[in-house]
C-alpha cells in the first residue's frame, strides 16, 4: 500500500489523471447550455424521487411523465417545439431537492421544473424556485401550495390538495359509513392534515370525530393503541403510511376479528402495494379514497382508457409488463394533467424562453377550468389562480372481490374551501 502511495508521479499517470478530470468535467453536471432558442426543445426539469422513501412513487411519476411527453410531442409539441425532459434525482430529501431546482435553473437552464411529490421536498425546494424565478409545478397533493406559504412561482394545477380531498369525502362518510368516527393517523405532517381538517368537515355534516389516535412514525406494532378506540365507534378512519401498514392492518384484524366497525382509508398507504397481499384480507369490504381509480371501471371514459394505455397499466392498475408491479394510480395522473396545464399556459402566453417566466406565471394564474378529456382524464377541474391550486372530483372505492370498485364520485364543489391568501399580490 505504501509503495502505491509513494510511487512518484510519471507522465503517464499524470495524463491518466488529467483524462479522468476531463471526463468528470465533461459529465452531465458540468455541461453548460446556451440560452434556449425558439427552435430548440422546451426543456422541463423533472425533479424525481428516484431514491429515498418516495422511490416507488417516483418511478411511476417518471413513467407517467414520459408517456405524457410522448403524447404531447406526437401531437406537435408546445408552440411548435418538442418537449425534452431532464431528470434529476432529489433522493426524496429537501436539501438535495433545493440543489436540484437550483441545478435546473442555473445549469440545465430548463424552462420549468416539475413533478415533485413529497411535501417536505416541495417546501424545501420552493425557495430555490422563487429565487431563481423558475416556474415550479408540483404534483404533491399537500396543502402547502394552497396555504399560500410558498411563493408565486410554485403551482399545483394537476392534483387536488389533501384539505380538499378530506372535505370532499366527509359528506359520504357521514351519510354512508357512520356518525361516530375514530381517526388513526401517523404522528407527522401527513397525519396532521387529516387530524386538523376532518373534524370540522364531519361536524358540518352532523357527524363527529370521537377519538384521534396519533401513532409515532417509529412504531412497528400497533396492538397497544387499539384499546383507545371507543367502543361506540361507527367508523375507523385510517391513514397509516409506510411499510408498517401491513402490520397495522393485520393487527387491527386480529383485534376485531369478524365484528368490526366500518373502515375508511386513504389509498396513499397502499399505493404501489398489491391490495391482495397476504395480511390485507381484513380490509375486504372497506372503503378508500382514490384520486384516480387503480382498477379499470365499467364506466371509464375513452380518455381514461387512452391514458391508461399510454402509461402502460392493465385492468388491475399494474404494469402491462409485470402484473406484480402495482402503480401509484391514485396520484400519478397528476403528472399527466400538469404537463398539459404547462402546455396550455405556455401557449396562452406565447412562451419563448426563460425571459417569459413572468408571463408564464401570469398565464397559469389566469387559468380557471380544465375540461375532462384526453388532457385531463381523471375528470374536470377548476383552478384558483390566487392560491395556485386546482379542485376536482374524488373517488370513493369499495374493496370487494379483490378489487377496488368506485361506488361514489364527489362533486368539485364538495372539495371547495375559502382561499387562505393570494399569491398574485406578490411581485414577479
Amino acid at each position: 500500500m505504501s509503495s502505491f502511495i509513494r510511487k512518484s508521479i510519471t507522465r503517464r499517470t499524470a495524463l491518466k489523471g488529467f483524462g479522468a478530470a476531463a471526463g468528470l468535467v465533461a459529465g452531465p453536471g458540468f455541461v453548460r447550455y446556451s440560452q434556449a432558442q425558439s427552435s430548440e426543445p422546451i426543456r422541463i426539469g423533472f425533479q424525481a424521487h428516484r431514491t429515498g422513501i418516495g422511490a416507488s412513487y417516483g418511478r411511476w411519476y417518471e413513467r407517467t411523465t414520459n408517456a405524457a411527453v410522448k403524447a404531447v410531442n406526437d401531437a406537435g409539441g408546445i408552440n411548435g417545439r418538442q418537449v425534452e425532459v431532464i431528470v434529476e434525482d432529489d433522493g426524496t430529501d429537501p436539501g438535495r431537492g433545493a440543489e436540484v431546482v437550483g441545478k435546473f435553473a442555473t445549469q440545465h437552464k430548463v424552462d420549468v421544473a416539475f413533478g415533485t411529490l413529497f411535501s417536505h421536498v416541495v417546501i424545501g425546494s420552493a425557495p430555490a424556485a422563487g429565487e431563481n424565478k423558475l416556474p415550479y409545478y408540483v404534483v404533491s397533493e399537500g396543502h402547502h401550495v394552497a396555504s399560500t406559504k410558498l411563493n408565486r412561482y410554485v403551482f399545483q394545477p394537476g392534483i387536488t390538495d389533501v384539505k380538499s380531498q378530506i372535505q370532499a369525502v366527509a359528506p359520504w362518510i357521514a351519510a354512508n359509513a357512520g356518525k361516530k368516527v375514530t381517526q388513526i393517523f401517523p404522528d407527522f405532517a401527513f397525519g396532521y392534515d387529516h387530524r386538523d381538517y376532518l373534524p370540522p368537515a364531519l361536524k358540518a355534516q352532523g357527524a363527529d370525530v370521537i377519538a384521534q389516535i396519533a401513532i409515532p412514525p417509529t412504531e412497528s406494532s400497533f396492538t397497544k393503541y387499539f384499546p383507545q378506540i371507543p367502543a361506540d365507534t361507527d367508523v375507523i378512519y385510517h391513514v397509516m403510511v409506510g411499510p408498517a401498514v401491513l402490520t397495522f392492518v393485520k393487527e387491527l384484524g386480529e383485534f376485531y376479528g369478524s365484528n368490526r366497525p366500518q373502515l375508511f382509508g386513504f389509498i396513499d398507504s397502499l399505493e404501489a402495494v398489491d391490495i391482495n397481499s397476504p395480511g390485507l384480507e381484513f380490509l375486504d369490504g372497506s372503503h378508500f379514497w382514490e384520486g384516480s381509480p387503480r382498477y379499470a371501471q365499467p364506466d371509464d371514459s375513452d380518455a381514461q382508457k387512452a391514458y391508461r394505455a399510454a402509461v402502460g397499466i392493465d385492468e388491475n392498475g399494474a404494469s402491462v409488463d409485470d402484473p406484480k408491479d402495482v402503480s401509484t394510480a391514485a396520484h400519478m395522473f397528476g403528472c399527466w394533467e400538469t404537463l398539459y396545464v404547462i402546455k396550455k399556459a405556455m401557449e396562452d402566453s406565447g412562451y419563448q424562453s426563460r425571459d417569459d417566466a413572468g408571463k408564464l406565471v401570469e398565464a397559469t394564474e389566469a387559468l380557471t377550468e380544465f375540461a375532462e378529456g384526453p388532457e385531463h382524464p381523471q375528470g374536470p377541474k377548476t383552478f384558483n389562480g390566487k392560491i395556485h391550486q386546482c379542485f376536482g372530483i374524488q373517488n370513493i372505492s369499495k374493496l370487494e372481490g379483490g378489487r377496488l370498485n368506485v361506488v361514489h364520485k364527489t362533486s368539485i364543489e364538495d372539495g371547495m374551501y375559502e382561499p387562505e391568501g393570494d399569491y398574485t399580490t406578490q411581485p414577479l
Binding site: F30, K103, P127, L150
Partner: protein
Amino acid sequence: MRHDGFKPAALHVAVIALLFALNFVLPDYHHGLLARIMVLAVFAMGYNLLFGYVGLLSLGHAMFFSAGLYGSGLAIYHLGWGVPAAFGAGLVSGALLSLVIGLLALRTTGVAFMIVTMMFAQVFYLLILYFAQWTGGDQGLVLQQAQRLIEIGGVTLDLTEPVTRYMVSLGLFSVVLVATLLMARSAFGRVLVAIRENEERTRMLGYDTFANKLAAVVASGVICAASGAAYALLFGYVGSTLASVQYSILPLLWVLLGGAATTLGPLVGTVFMYYVIDVTSGYTSAYMLVVGIALILLVLYFPKGVLGTIRDRWVRWLP
C-alpha cells in the same frame, strides 16, 4: 512548530483568496453549490473540532446544526426578528444546547458517548416533530425572501442574491477557518490533542480535562449552530430532515474524507462528497453505491483522510 507559522498562514490566506476568486469565474450552478458547500464545511469544521482534536466521536451533531437552524429560523418566522438578531439567536441556541449536552454526555466516553449523543439528537429530532405547530414538523417552514434582507446604514443586503449569498458564506467560512487554525495552534488546542492522545496523563499533568472537553463541545456546538443558522438564512428552509441522523453522519464522513484534525480537511471532504454525488447522480440512480466505493477506497488508501495522509507523507507542516 510554532516558529514555522508562515506557511500555514499563507496556505489559509491562499485558500480564502482562491474561494474569493472563484466567485467571479464559476458558472452559476457551481457558484450556488459552492456557497452551500462552504456553509456545510463550517458544520464539518465544528464537528472536526470535537472529533479530530479531542477524539470524541459524536453521532448527534445534527442537533447542534439544527439548534442554529431552528434558533434563527423560528426567531424570524414567529417573532419577526431581523437577520443579525436571528443569527445571534441561532448561536445562543447552539451554545446553550451544547453546554447542557456536554455536561451530560461527557460523563461517558467512547462508544457510550456515541450512543448518548445519538440518543439526544434523536430526542431533539422527535421534539421538532412533536412541536410541529411551531416547527412545521417534517414538512418544515419556508423563510420568505422579504424576511432575509439585512439593512445596514441604508444599504440593503439581499441574502437570496447569489453573489451576496456567496460572499456571506465565504465570510462565515473564513472566520471559522481562521478561528480553528488559531485554536489548533493555541495552548487550548494542544491540551485538546493531549486529551485525545492520553487523557489520564493530561489530567496527571494538572489539566482539568473535563472543563477543556466541555469547552470543546460548546465551541463545536456553536460553530455547527452558526452553520445551521446560516443555512436557514441563506437558503430559506428550516426542516426536520436536517436534524435527522443522516445529518449527524454526514459531517463525520466529510471530516473522515478530508482528514480529521486538519484545518482544511472539512472543506476538502465536503467538496469531494458533494461533487461525487452531483456528478455520479447524473449517470446512475445507484450513485450512493459509487459514494460507498469511493469511501472504501479512501479508507484503504488514505486512512487518515486526504489531507491527513498528505500531511503524514509529504507536507509535515500542514495544520
